[in-house]
Structures are given as structure tokens and as C-alpha cells.
Subunit: 459 residues, 4 copies
Amino acid sequence: MTSQLHEECGVFGVFGVEGAADLVRIGLTFLQHRGQEGCGIAYTDGKGELVLRKDQGLVSRVFPEAVRGGGRSAIGHVRYGTTGGGGVDNVQPFLFCRRSGSFATAHNGNLVNADELMQALSTQGALFHSSSDSEIFGALLGSGLKGGGTISVPLLSRVLNRIDGAFSLLVLTDNALYACRDKTGFRPLSIGQLGGGYVVGSESCSLEAAGVHSIRDVRPGEIVRISADGTESSFYSAAAQCAMCAMEYIYFARPDSDIEGRNVHAFRKESGKILYRENPCEADLVVGVPDSGLSAAIGYSEASGIPLEMALVKNAYVARTFIQPTQEMRLNGVRMKLSPVRSLIEGKRLVVIDDSIVRGTTSRQLVRMLREAGAAQIHMRISSPPLRNPCYYGVDISSRKELISASLTVEEVGRYIGADTLSFLSEAGLMEAGGRSDLCMACFSGRYPTDIYSHEDNN
Amino acid sequence: MTSQLHEECGVFGVFGVEGAADLVRIGLTFLQHRGQEGCGIAYTDGKGELVLRKDQGLVSRVFPEAVRGGGRSAIGHVRYGTTGGGGVDNVQPFLFCRRSGSFATAHNGNLVNADELMQALSTQGALFHSSSDSEIFGALLGSGLKGGGTISVPLLSRVLNRIDGAFSLLVLTDNALYACRDKTGFRPLSIGQLGGGYVVGSESCSLEAAGVHSIRDVRPGEIVRISADGTESSFYSAAAQCAMCAMEYIYFARPDSDIEGRNVHAFRKESGKILYRENPCEADLVVGVPDSGLSAAIGYSEASGIPLEMALVKNAYVARTFIQPTQEMRLNGVRMKLSPVRSLIEGKRLVVIDDSIVRGTTSRQLVRMLREAGAAQIHMRISSPPLRNPCYYGVDISSRKELISASLTVEEVGRYIGADTLSFLSEAGLMEAGGRSDLCMACFSGRYPTDIYSHEDNN
Amino acid sequence: MTSQLHEECGVFGVFGVEGAADLVRIGLTFLQHRGQEGCGIAYTDGKGELVLRKDQGLVSRVFPEAVRGGGRSAIGHVRYGTTGGGGVDNVQPFLFCRRSGSFATAHNGNLVNADELMQALSTQGALFHSSSDSEIFGALLGSGLKGGGTISVPLLSRVLNRIDGAFSLLVLTDNALYACRDKTGFRPLSIGQLGGGYVVGSESCSLEAAGVHSIRDVRPGEIVRISADGTESSFYSAAAQCAMCAMEYIYFARPDSDIEGRNVHAFRKESGKILYRENPCEADLVVGVPDSGLSAAIGYSEASGIPLEMALVKNAYVARTFIQPTQEMRLNGVRMKLSPVRSLIEGKRLVVIDDSIVRGTTSRQLVRMLREAGAAQIHMRISSPPLRNPCYYGVDISSRKELISASLTVEEVGRYIGADTLSFLSEAGLMEAGGRSDLCMACFSGRYPTDIYSHEDNN
Amino acid sequence: MTSQLHEECGVFGVFGVEGAADLVRIGLTFLQHRGQEGCGIAYTDGKGELVLRKDQGLVSRVFPEAVRGGGRSAIGHVRYGTTGGGGVDNVQPFLFCRRSGSFATAHNGNLVNADELMQALSTQGALFHSSSDSEIFGALLGSGLKGGGTISVPLLSRVLNRIDGAFSLLVLTDNALYACRDKTGFRPLSIGQLGGGYVVGSESCSLEAAGVHSIRDVRPGEIVRISADGTESSFYSAAAQCAMCAMEYIYFARPDSDIEGRNVHAFRKESGKILYRENPCEADLVVGVPDSGLSAAIGYSEASGIPLEMALVKNAYVARTFIQPTQEMRLNGVRMKLSPVRSLIEGKRLVVIDDSIVRGTTSRQLVRMLREAGAAQIHMRISSPPLRNPCYYGVDISSRKELISASLTVEEVGRYIGADTLSFLSEAGLMEAGGRSDLCMACFSGRYPTDIYSHEDNN
């Protein structure tokens, strides 16, 4: 699928490694697919202070050179943001300065009781410097530090127990790095050892890139404190229960990441096989929509015996900021990002594998483009169930109105996008692909694993 | 003198004028001489929210285009900062977000009890986002807003009474603009009417540039609240007593500004006349060191009858960031900024008028350069008394050690810089030039008009 | 393969279409893979003059906005260049101004008698403004315009007959666009109709992107003159014989391009099938090296029945300019661009499909990385014959010394890169994949289809 | 006067000095007032080749760092250009590459027979790469090098004899630097010795900045060849006769430059004295319009005994690119660049000294601004005669229509600009100030010292 779903952010942290700040730069480069709006790195300066550098843009723009200097620990963040969302002030990490010890935070996810907490904090005199719900962590920690003291596991436990929603959170102090994951485990967070130190990151691929091998997931509800004494694990909630976001497997994560023991590419390939089993099709070739539909397409091809062809080619140089042509050309937006290969397509019956359908407009343009390239038949197969409900945990689907499957039947959607046939993977098929039943599938089923507070109104 | 003294910042605010944010851009351009490190503008968006834009660099870099949109009030800030001083986080205005109403602050000056206040605020759980003492205003206001409420004159009065030191402070809320000046009146702040609205700025020249004519100074200890109901004046302290920074007249301010009723150029020209009366000299020509020495040179020439010549020319295109040549040229740093006019200087006896001597290195290079250009005699005349003490109110002279006059006699300084004769204006002469005795002359005399708290140790 | 082979440039032209200059911008975006160093567009201004805009960097950097204005014809160029190669002066198109009519040129390819021609032109008083051999076209045309006159097919024919080597050349005048291809047909050039006008481009994918459908190749030795009267075809040489560069199919061109009737992806997939037939292998999975090895990997998998896995993932955000980490991490350069998927690789026997081996260093790092990720066996299969000879027609392989296969046997190369087995496609297999025997395979076989002049010495 | 007159360019060259390219950077910084549109440096690379770096923008933008490397000779250029004038292609130096030796040129001035020469060269097959008349030097030299050979004094003599108009020209080859000045000597060019090498530059101030002391002017019609053998002087024309551009003294040149033995500040000051003698006035203060009116104001004040005040202050931070405010403020354009000092002006009778009046619009805004600041009377005194004729030698006054004094009498101009009285310096007075009668005063008198060819028509 080509960029209609988005999740907010990725985090990366290092403790006890020489050149920690620059290692975070490397790690963020491998999380860049999770957010391109801005990024930052907070690091110890080796003299008891924290330093923060952040700006809008890609990692390669904000940190065009290696980050020199700094001590042996650092955290970083890549941000996905909606247009005009607050500028550089909303770019993380956030740095909170205090006389008795500064700290920095980096957060991936979305809080569901943010409004309630901000109201309460404001009454207590708290001031905010951004419009991001991620600043709530700092404000609650600051509030808990009245009378002095420093960040600690008990304080973090008290704070995290007040927060509902999705968070994979890093907190950096002068002498410790805390890696925390919400008790539902919506967002991934992996941790591993590098030499005498430790590395944490939103996806395992970023740890691999940093040279880390023995990698485990931070567990739902777990707080891992990393310090000169090694790691110390505790759980802030006894109510922890896993409901990993299914869209991480389906769309967000890189295929080379392992999430909770399951490789993302393997998941997708398996979902492609099941998709064929559930929705077989006679056709001449299988075409995956780059990049996220490719793995499922390999699976579909393998299961069906229908040959796989690269009949859709992505243009790597057409960035999100690409300017549309001035004139009335017969080019649609999808055409700038994907090129159909006429000589492969002409006269052929196509099974087109995509990961999801959001508004339907992209699929409609895609089908039209393939027909113009001469396709005889177009059978759309989607490797996930229909999206019917908004997400409050960090996936950027703001309202039910935008979701075509919320108001139309599968048959109607098929007609709208112009495909000969259309089918989706079943919820059961998705769980089978994952080899697990504890996924958050709220956006498909409407069953939210947490209270959703005031969001119920605009549900 | 060429840039060894610096003061932190200038502020500018507008209330009740269409295009307020862009008018602040214009005003800041006329305060740019007070700070070139960074700048920002906070403005109402016309819908109850405040918007902040800020970055490092000149006004023309940060705001390369007119600032469009925004409501009818705004404040801005230009920052002078030492190298590497905290990056964009220290650039003002600061924006403090609250559920019951955000506010922004812009501050010119230096607090003397900043350490004590930050310590106290930290104990209460306050978090800071910069390393600037200017954030204390926001933190104290936030602390005073516990339990709700909004910025008000009584709250500001309570807060300002806790703060010692120099401040000209602007506070912007959704519906009011507060212009405050410390009770000693160290830093200038002027206010005037424009159409149905109001404009405030660090120097009167910036108000003139904005088209404002009937201008008065905000008084020491005064809080001017500007709202839809017009202006309302109150005083937060009964102990107000003026001690305007003498260096504002001598060096910082633009010659076209009037500070507390006295034009800066006129002050300087008069000081040049008195300088001649106190320290006459036989010479062929008077040379002022651009830019701040020119007015005094005109006065010296007029009083002495010795012709004035532009025998030192400033290179407008050599910025602070000019890269020194790679090779071992016989060029000193002063030579890149000032060019001596050989044909005017050769064989002549010169009276060179400068505004001050800090370390003595610049004067030494200047004298050498003039000798190489053929000067027969060089008589240095300084239009202020010798600098012997550090400033804690915002002038960037951090320690006594740097001040050549703190350890050497005038005769020794003269010998060090290589002049034939050297003399300084007396303290009495300085007061006479100002037509007032209530100037802060602590850097000359060591008599500080306020408690200086812990600074006494490194005095 | 990851970027050790490079070809110089792509060209794109438009005649008789509204918004021609901006359409060239779109086209160049789809040729960006052929050159990232610089780009430019020359276009008619609608008033009889030509305008040139060009700079170093990607199309999206040089033309961050739509190119507005201009007339109905334009040509453009993307340049691949070696480091420090002459700066912006070497970026094309070149504009040649004359009183009786200016013209612009854009050239893809490399001339073999450039030295001889420059020598001759210099003697006649010609001046050059770049160090690029592409300026020779302009100089020869200028020389032919002595005494007046304008660009014409007869003049072009005379000029092109003096030039040996590879060129796909566009020449733009105020009222015509000439599309020329050298008589050996080394470099691709396609042409098609768009509305009442015409579009030409280095690869058919760029024409498709511009909305052109009925596309043909400009033929070896052909000059197509496009004017208000339509197109007019002539041949400058009777000796035309095709020897299309095999590397275009193997590595340079986009998989969605058709070159002389053969789709590039289809070619590569077929070469993968033949590669299996020639060099079978027992293994658990087939892995293609992104991006150019993927198509062949699909073919190899299909032919062998060994499942295809995306066990190597490319990092889209690691640009050519990525800064290596400061410290001594255990990261090699390949690791920053490609990530192995441990959970897919561990304990498995791999067939790794790459398109070519140049120096061997990249393959060696790749093999090491796969072993570290747990691969049990690594069988490298290369979908082209060993590279043993330099190219003088535009592929950036400057000397035999750099080519590992020039001095080592296949077995020795296999040992050097650390693979369990290594085999290459045969020359016969390559021709079979192309369905044609008239490819230039000089870099494999050493049989150059043209005289190579003075290059013989450093051969 | 504030920027309505402009001259094209400044040149700077170095031969036989270590770090020549970077020394040119320094020199150009001191010629920046002569052109801000673009700049460049061509230098020997120490291995027989010339390297060119150039771009649009100030020296500090194009060369933000010291220019490292390069051999011991270099030339540079700063360009003044009209808006949109051809982009970077028109920025000099121009580099002309030839097999038997490249050369580079840098030119200050304007040719009067450019059209005729380009026509002739075009007929001979010459191609141009810019729309600048300065490329003619290269084309003529190239034409003279047919059949081989190198740049030499005889060749330059032949070429320069074909060219009419204004030029101070530098030509750099691998082993020599030629400094040439047209036979009328319109534009300045100075030369001096630095260590074992030589430095040439448009104004002596740039040579002083580079550390050169014994400076002489290149003479009208002179070619100075500088090589490893020292300097060699010849004259290309026996008809040489001086007519130095009067505007160089009046407006363009820096006050610290000496032109043909006369210091510019001294000239201006003297012209101020004569201006008083010719046009006395009763007033309270003398005000010079910064920067170019200041020297004359000092002279006027000295001669009249009327005190000089800095009642107009220039805003150093308002660049040419300053964006005007969005809204309808009562600010005129002059107001952004110059600030009147109300407290000095109020109720006073002013003599305002400016160097020239072009269109009259700026003076009119200035007078209005001074009246608004409270001036009781305004007596404008212009330190040059009325501008009535276009210049064909490099001063950017394109047509008679723009010149207010071409169509109005002095009295009418005075009424238009709103001054109480207005007078100009006489032509005789100007010559007296210069101590010479051989100035080019064509723009005042209409007596052009050369044939003006086809320009007569639009005269």
C-alpha cells in the first residue's frame, strides 16, 4: 500500500556504549520508515548534563554528519506528524531540565486519556511546551519529583499506572536509561546487549543494524532499568495482557524485523498463502504492490503456483514532497509513485496483492492504471480484513468516515475501485498467519482492548 | 569599538494592530544590533491560541518572507548568545501552554538571583526546557497559576517581586500584552500608540521604524497592561529607583534611539566634547572608530577645532562569521573589519576616539595598523571610564580577569596598546554627558545598585 | 548489486506540448537512477530564446517546485559523475548562444575519439567551457555554422559522422528538436507521441510516466527531426549495426523499461531461469540482492522450485552520502544499505542472486554478513558473465586492474568472497535471455564493436 | 545616496603568492560594494590546469570557508547584475578551455561596440555561453588562437584594439596574469607587490586589505604582463587619454580607496567644501545621507561652521532583499534603510548632503520623512552636477527618461522632492575637487569620450 496509513514514531536508545549519540543516529536511520517529519537525539555530555539536538526533516538532513562527542548513553526519536503539526516544538526527544538532574523522554504510541491528564496537570500549574500528548510523561514525572529526588522505577510505575493507551517509552537520565512498554503491549520495543552496554529500539531491524544479536522484546507492562549495574526488570502493572497492533505486522514494520518472535516478512508471506487458500483465483500472474504487498505476493504465488512478476515498479526518487506537474496531464498521483510494466501486463489476468484499503482512492487509481496498461482482468486480494474502525493507539486513521469499508460492503468496494473481483483476508486468517490470537484488531473488529474515554463520542 | 562587549537581547511587542506578527518582524530588524544569534515571534492566531516561530540566525534568515496571518498581537525577541549556548531551545520568546490559556514571554536582561530561584522551583517540581535564566519568569507564573486562573497584574507583581536583576519583560496572553521593567530600570523599554493599538520595544528607534511617534519609557518597576480596554499602569515595587546602564548610551544602543529622554548620538557627541575638555591634545586630525566611536569623534572635533576625517572605514560585508585567510598573511583580525586610509593618515598626528577598552587586544592591533599606515603620532581618547568590574545585569563581561584596566594603570594600558598617549573620560564627565547622575556605572566603579547574591564569590 | 557500476546519464525531451519544461522535470525524475550528480533543463521561452536551468543534485533538489512558464519544447539531462568532476559546468544540457539562433544539447554515452576531436577543434580556435566530452557536439556544430546558417539534418549528419563511440543525443533549437542515436546503438533512446507533440527519453519508463503509449526506439544511426511539421527520419550512416549495451539490461535500466522490444524485468527473470539451468544448486531458499538482483531471483526460484524469500532488505533512507559511524563499530558499508533477516536465514542453505561482481569487495562483505546472520551455506549465482574488460562507451569501469575477474579465475573469486560455490551466467545464456545476439558484450569478451583509438594503450 | 546607481563589478587578481585563491576571496570581500549578485574565483591548480568556482550571492555565501589548495595565481570577480540577468552563467570569471592551454577572464566595465563584435564573431562560428558582453574578450582571444599558440601581449593588443568602451580586464593563464585597462581609463585598476608576487584589484582598498603597500594604477591603454620573470608593461594603443569616471569618486568607490592619486574621501570632503562655497546656506545642522554623503557633509560642515550631526542612521541589517511589510503601514521604502533622529531634527533647519539625484523618488521620500520628524527647513545640497545623460561605460542608468534632471530644471526638481531649497555642485567645482580636468562627465554634460555606436539611437 502506498502511504495512506501512518503510525506515529520510532524510538531508539543506547546505554554504556562509546559513541552512543552517533549509534542512535544509525539506529534512527533504520527506523526512518516509521516517521519522516522530524527527529532528534538527546545524549549525555559525559559531564552530568544532557544535550538535545532535534529538527524537522529526515535523519540525513538533521544529522548530515556523524554526531561527535557525547557520553555513553543517548536516546532518539523519529516522528510521523500530520501537516503543520506544531513545528519543531513537537519533535522528540523532549528534554526536561531540573537542578537535581535533567531527563529526556522519547515516546511511540498514543495515549487515550491524554485530555483528562492534561486537564488535571494544568490545574496543578503545569506548563506545556508542545501540543504533543507525549509531553505528559515528563509533566507527570516532574510533578512526582516535587520536593526533590530523581527518576526511579517506583516513580515511573506510579506515573505509568495513571496513563492509558499505547506507549513504548524511553527515559534517559544522567546515569540510567529506562525502557517501558504499556501493559497492553501495542507497540513493539526490543532490547539487546552490545559489548558491555545495551541497545533498545522500536524494531529489531534497528538493533541488528547496530550490531546487536541476542535480542528480546520488552514485555507488556515491563520497565527495564539500564544502568552501570546492568539491567533490572520490573512490571508496573499486574494487569498486563498482550494485544500487539496487527497493523505493525501488516504494514508498518520493516520485513526484516522480528516482533514478539515472529518475523514480519514471514508473517506477510504466510498471510499471502492463507489469502490464496481463502480466496483462490485463476490468473496469469501475481503482482505485489510495493513495498508492503511484496511479501504476501510471494506467498500467494508460492501457494497458487501462479508466477510472480514485478509488474509494478516503485520510483525511489519520488518523495512525499514531490510537486505535481503544473499542467493537466493524464497522470494520477499513484502514477508518480508506481509504474506499471505494460509488456508484462498486456492481455494478462492479474492477481494484485495489497496490504490494506483505507479510503479506496489509491486502489481505484491503481486499477485504472493497470487497465490502461492493458490488463485483461484484475483480481484484488488484500492481505488483511476490511478497515472499519478508527484507531486510538497511534495509527493515523482519525475517523470512521474516511474508511470506505465502514460504509460499503466488500462487493460495493470492489465495484468502487473497479476490480473484477475483490477479497480480504479473514480475521481468523490473520491470526493464523501470526500464529497467535492476542493481536489488537480493533480497527477491523471494533473491539478495543482498553477504555477509550472521551473518544467514544466521535467513534 | 568593534564587538568585544555584548548585551543580551532586544524585545518588541504589538497589541491591537492588524498584521501584528509582521510588524514585530520589522521591529526586530531595527533591534538586530542587540542580538544576532537567534530570534523568534509569538503571536495570537486569532482563534484563542498562540503560535511560536523561532530559530537561530538573523531576522532576515529566520523570517525570509513577510509573516502572514495571525491576529492583532505578537511579541518578538532577538538573542545575543555565547557560542554553543543551548541552540534553538534558548531562543526566545518562550511559549508556555496551559489548558486554561497559554502565554509567551520575551526577556532582555540578566537576573542576579536566578540560581536561588531555579533551586527553589526545582524543589517544587518545576521542569525547564532551556538553560536560559529567562525561563524563570514562565516557571514562576506557572507556579502561581496552580488551581487555575490566568495571568494578571497581581500575579505578575508577586512574581516580579521575587526576582532581582535586570529585566525588560514582555508577556503575551490571548487577550493582553504586559510590558514590565525591573525596579532599577537597567534596560530600556519604550512604549507608544499606533492607530488604535500599542507598540513596545527595547529601543525607541524600533518604534519609530514601526511608525509610532508619541513615545514614552516604561518606568522602573512599572507594569503596563495593554488590552482591548487600553493601557493600565501599575508599579510592582515601591522601591523603584533608576540606574540605567551607562553602556547602553556608550555602546549598545543605536544613535537614533532616545533613552529616558536623552538621544544616544547627542549623549555620545557631548561625551566627546567633554573628553576633549578633560583630555586635550595637539593633533592634525580626529578619527572615530566606527561605528560607536563616530559620534564622540564629531564632538571631539567640534570642541577642539581639529578636522574630522573618515580615516578608518568599516567593511560592511565582513560578518562575524568571516573566515580568516588560510595562510600566514600579515593581516590581523581588526584589519578585516576596519581599513585605515593611508593617504589621510600618512605623516599625521591622530586623535583616535573609541568608546571603550575591554581586553586591550583590539586597540593594540588598531594602533599597530595605524602606525603601519604611516601615522606620526597616535593619541587614544576613550569616551568612557576604564572598565574594571564584571557586569551581572546582562553585559557580557564575565570576569575581572579579562578586563585590562582591572589590573593595569591607564599609563600601563597605554604602553600595552602602543599609543603615544591614552586617556579616558571621567565618571563625572560621563554623568555630565548624560545630564543625569542616576546611571549604573558598576562596571567602572564596582558599586552595584543591587544585591549580587552568589556572584560575589567570583567577583 | 549495490552501486559499483555506473553509467553516465539519461536524457529527456519534449516538443510541441504545453508545459514542456515541467514535463521534462517529470521525465527526469523517472530517469534519476541513471545519474544523481546533477541535472538541468533547457527550454524555449516562447519568444525565440532558449533558457537554461541546471545545478548539482537530484531533480527534487534542483527543481523543488514545478517549472512554470516556457514554451512548448524542452530537453533535460541527469548526470552521473565521478567525485569532483568539474562541478556545475559539466552538468548538462549545454547551451550554445549564437546571434542567428541558439541551441542546446544533452548527451548520454561516451565518445572514443574525444581526444582526437578536441585536439583538432582546439587548433581551429575552439574554446571549451567544461571538461566533458559532451561539449564536442556543440563545438563541431558551431564550427559547421561558420558563415551563418542554422542547425539542420545535413549539418548534424556531417558532425555525427566524425564522432565515434556511444551517444544518445538531443539537440534543441528554437523551432526543432533532434533525437539522434549512434550507429552502433549502444545507449537506448525511445520516442513516442503525446497529443499533437512528441516525447523522447533514455528509457521507455520515463515516456510511460509522461503518459505516452505508442513508443518506438530511435534506431542506430537515426536522426529524428521533430518540428511543427511533425517528424522526419534520416540516417547519418549506412554502416549502422546494433550492439546494445548488455549492462543496460543487466543492471542500469529500470525493470519497467522496454529496450528494443525486450522488457528489462522479463530479460532478468529469464536470465535467472537460464542461470539455474546452467548452474543448479541444492538449497533452502533463493535470495535476490536488491534491487537489480530481484528479477533474476524470481526466475531462479521459479525454475528451481526453491522458495523465494526477502531475506535481504534495502534501507531506502541510506543515501549515497550517508556518513559512516564515528566509532569502530562492527558495521561494514554493505550493512548500512542491506539488512539480512536473521530469522529467515539462520541454519539455511542460501542461493544468493546478484547481477554482477566488479571488485569483489561488496560481495565479500555480503557473504560475511550472511554468515554472521547464521547462513549454513551460501551459493552465489551471478546473472551475467565475469567482467574482465574496461568499457569505453559510458560504463564507469575505468581500468582492468579494478576488475577482480580480470586477474582471478571463477574459483579464486569464489574463495576471495567466501562463498561455498560461485557461478556466472554464460555469454550464450545472456544472449538467450535477450533473445538476440547483437548485444555489446565487450566488458565480458573484450571484443569492442568500434575502434577504441588511443584507449588501447591503457586497455 | 541609497542605491539607485550601480556599476558593474570589481576584479581582483594575484600572481606568485602562496594561497592565491584564498587571497582573492579576501580581496573580493573588500570589493563587495561593487557587486552583490554573484562572484567567482578562477585559480591555477598547481598542475597546469585552471579551476573555476562561482555562484550567485555574496562572497561570504559562495565561499563560506577559506579556499584551500590551488597554486600561486588566481583571479576573481564580483558581479552587479540586473534582476534575472542570466543566472550563474553570467557570473565571472569565465573559463575558456583549450588543449594547448586554458585561460580565464574577469572584466569590469561595459563595451560600446559589443553588438557589432558579437555579430562578427557569430558569423565566424563562435558560440557564446552567457548573455554577458564580457565573454567577447574570450571569443576574440580564442579566434586569435586558431592554429595554436598561447595568450601573449601581441595577441591581447590586437584584441583590445578591436574593442571600444570601458574595461579593466584580468586574464589568467597557467603561467601569467595580464592586467589591462582601456585606453580611456574609465574604470580604476591598481597593482602592487606582495612578497615576491603581485596583486591587482579594482580599488586600492582591496590591495591594502591584502597587505600590499606600494600601489600604482594600471595606466589607460596599458597591458601589464605578470609572470615568473616579474612584470612587463606595454601599451596597446598610442591614443590613450584619461577620462576616469567621475561617479567612481562621487559614489561607487570606497572612501578609503585612492584612485589615480586622489583619495576618495578627500575628494568627497573637498567637494562638500566647494559645495558650500558655491551654495551657502543658513541652517542649524548639517546631515549627510549615509554612506556616500557623509564625507561631503563633513566638508560642508567644516567650511560653513554649521555643526555636523548623525541625524540619519542606516540600518545595517536591512539588506537589498528585505521583504516589505504585508500591511498598509505608513512606512516608505527609504524608512526601512534610513532612520531620522527626531530629537536632533525637531524644529531645526537642516542642510542635507547627498551625492546625487537619479529619479528623485528616494529624495522625495527622504524629505517627507525628515519633515515628519519635525524638520523646520530642509536644504538639499548635492555634491555632484545634475544627472542628465545615460552611461554606456558600466553605470546602470539605462535611459534618459529615468533621470529627473533630464526633463526638469533644478528648481522644478526641488519642488518635486519637496525641499525648501536645492542646489547641485557645478561641473567646475567637481573638477576642482578632483584636482583634475580629465574626468568622464558624460552623464552630466553629454560629452562622451568615445564613439557610442548604435547606442546613439536610444540616447
